[in-house]
């Protein structure tokens, strides 16, 4: 029974994640089109919603070209690493409280890991292997530069990302993600939900910026900066291997949105819903819906940022990471510690 529940959770979460990634590509194309007063895809399905299906068919049919001097094994491996890592990060995200189905109390997360935050940091750190190896194995100078940039970017932003999370961990007193969310279901002064965005605004901003850098999204998409690096790390990829990179980018975006939601926006918490006297089952469903809504808002924010802000220059990126984000995150840790010390005594 246990095994069946876990399998069911994996199937559902993966299904939702992949569908979500497909829909996100569509949403991105549509939103960017609207921002630029265009129409966007509108031929396949309602408002072009099945465009991604056509694109996938096209990518699968395409010839898989591997450069002659490339390292074939690593070249094949890199997109797989990217995709696997992107998909496995979502496993620890609690997308709802416990739900009761057929007498079973089911926790709404795939893997109840007791070091959830660390797992997320480790997994996002792994993601860079895909990019760097793709850049290295292609044996192309542009790809290599893209890969190197990616690793430099990761080192710079992993630090501030970890630092900005320490404040959250200190408040929750745990690295379990479900604990962190549960802590956020309380209220400050009886009316303000104790979401970490209100308790840790500086941590939120630093984490958000780092999340953008980690997902290689604009304004930090230097590893694939088209105007200077052709296509960056995926210059030499074609067909479905390229598709895997694309897919992992969008899955990463969803996962990053989910992580931000979990850590800072109160996860599945819908303020005051527990006082409405709903049945536990309805409440649980409502909370899953709340979580989805928050994630969708974050994805929308990611897309809006991409089509608003131009790309950073490489030195600006490094300067921002080391001279602003890191000190800010460390200061945040110190202030949080001080406040906690004073309030608990």
């Amino acid at each position: 029974m246990e095994l069946f529940i876990v399998a069911a959770k994996i199937v559902v979460v993966l299904g939702v994640l992949l569908t979500g990634a497909a829909l996100t590509t569509w949403a991105e194309r549509k939103i960017s089109a609207f921002i630029q007063n265009r129409v966007g895809p509108n031929r396949i399905g309602w408002a072009g919603i099945f465009q991604i299906v056509a694109d996938m068919v096209k990518l699968v049919m395409k010839e898989d070209i591997v450069p002659k001097s490339a390292n074939r094994f690593v070249h094949d491996l890199a997109p797989m690493i990217s995709l696997t890592v992107a998909m496995s990060t979502f496993a620890v995200i609690p997308f709802g409280n416990t739900i009761e189905i057929a007498g079973q109390n089911i926790k709404l997360m795939v893997a109840d890991v007791n070091v959830g935050v660390l797992y997320i940091l480790a997994m996002t750190g792994m993601g860079v292997y895909g990019v760097t190896l793709a850049g290295w194995s292609s044996n192309n100078k542009y790809s290599l530069l893209g890969g190197l940039r990616s690793s430099a970017q990761l080192i710079s932003y992993e630090l501030s990302m970890g630092m900005s999370l320490i404040g959250v961990i200190m408040i929750a007193g745990s690295v379990r993600l479900d604990q962190i969310v549960l802590q956020q279901t309380e209220y400050v002064g009886g009316w303000l939900p104790a979401w970490n965005i209100f308790l840790q605004p500086v941590g939120f901003v630093t984490f958000l910026v780092s999340a953008f850098a980690e997902t290689n999204r604009l304004p930090f998409d230097l590893p694939e900066a088209e105007p200077e690096l052709v296509g960056g790390y995926h210059t030499e990829y074609s067909g479905m291997k390229f598709g895997m990179f694309m897919l992992s980018e969008y899955i990463n975006m969803i996962t990053a949105s989910a992580v931000v939601t979990t850590l800072f926006l109160g996860g599945w918490h819908l303020p005051f819903a527990e006082t409405w006297g709903l049945s536990p089952f309805t409440l649980a469903l409502l909370q899953v819906g709340t979580f989805a809504a928050k994630v969708i808002c974050m994805i929308f924010f990611f897309i809006m940022i991409r089509w608003t802000i131009p790309r950073f220059r490489y030195d600006q990126l490094m300067k921002l990471g080391w001279k602003w984000m890191l000190p800010l995150a460390i200061a945040n840790v110190l202030v949080t510690g001080l406040v906690l010390l004073l309030t608990t005594n």
Partner: protein, 166 residues
């Protein structure tokens, strides 16, 4: 960067500018507002775009009273940067004395620059508003007089535009 490696700023940024965040929010508001403006896209195969008179479509020869205005001076052929025009002159009883017995423009070579129109002393070759050019082979792309001739009445808008702006 200046010559001594210093960064020259046109305008000093104040604290809030350097914080980026207010500026980013301003940009976000702008893009968000933009989303609700009407689209300017033309759904091409179903809807067709009718170009205004200043549009440079494929070149055509102007026909007046049943004969082309061209006097076969060869200037257009000479100026054409893509070497797309071929003119062969011959004599005629009409007042203009000369006419092109053969006038061909290779539409695959033409780059729609409009130099021929500019140089023509008779306003005989002008740019039309046709932009749909599809060929199955190279021979089809060579337009002879039969395809090039257009009556002056048909080209009225362009001729009027040239009169006003040239």
């Amino acid at each position: 960067m200046g010559s001594n490696g210093q960064i020259i700023r046109k305008k000093d940024l104040n604290f809030w500018d350097r914080l980026y965040i207010p500026e980013i929010l301003k940009g976000l508001v702008l893009t968000f507002r933009q989303m609700f403006k009407p689209e300017i896209t033309v759904q091409f195969p179903e809807e067709r775009f009718t170009p205004p008179a200043q549009f440079r479509g494929r070149p055509v020869l102007v026909e007046e009273n049943g004969v082309e205005r061209c006097v076969a001076c060869g200037l257009c052929s000479r100026v054409c940067p893509a070497l797309a025009i071929e003119v062969q002159a011959s004599e005629t009883e009409l007042a203009k004395e000369r006419f092109p017995i053969k006038f061909e423009i290779n539409m695959v070579r033409c780059i729609f620059c409009g130099f021929c129109e500019e140089v023509c002393p008779e306003e005989a070759i002008i740019m039309s508003n046709e932009y749909l050019l599809v060929f199955n082979n190279q021979q089809e792309a060579v337009f002879g007089k039969d395809k090039l001739l257009k009556s002056a009445a048909e080209m009225h808008d362009r001729l009027e535009f040239l009169r006003q702006h040239r």
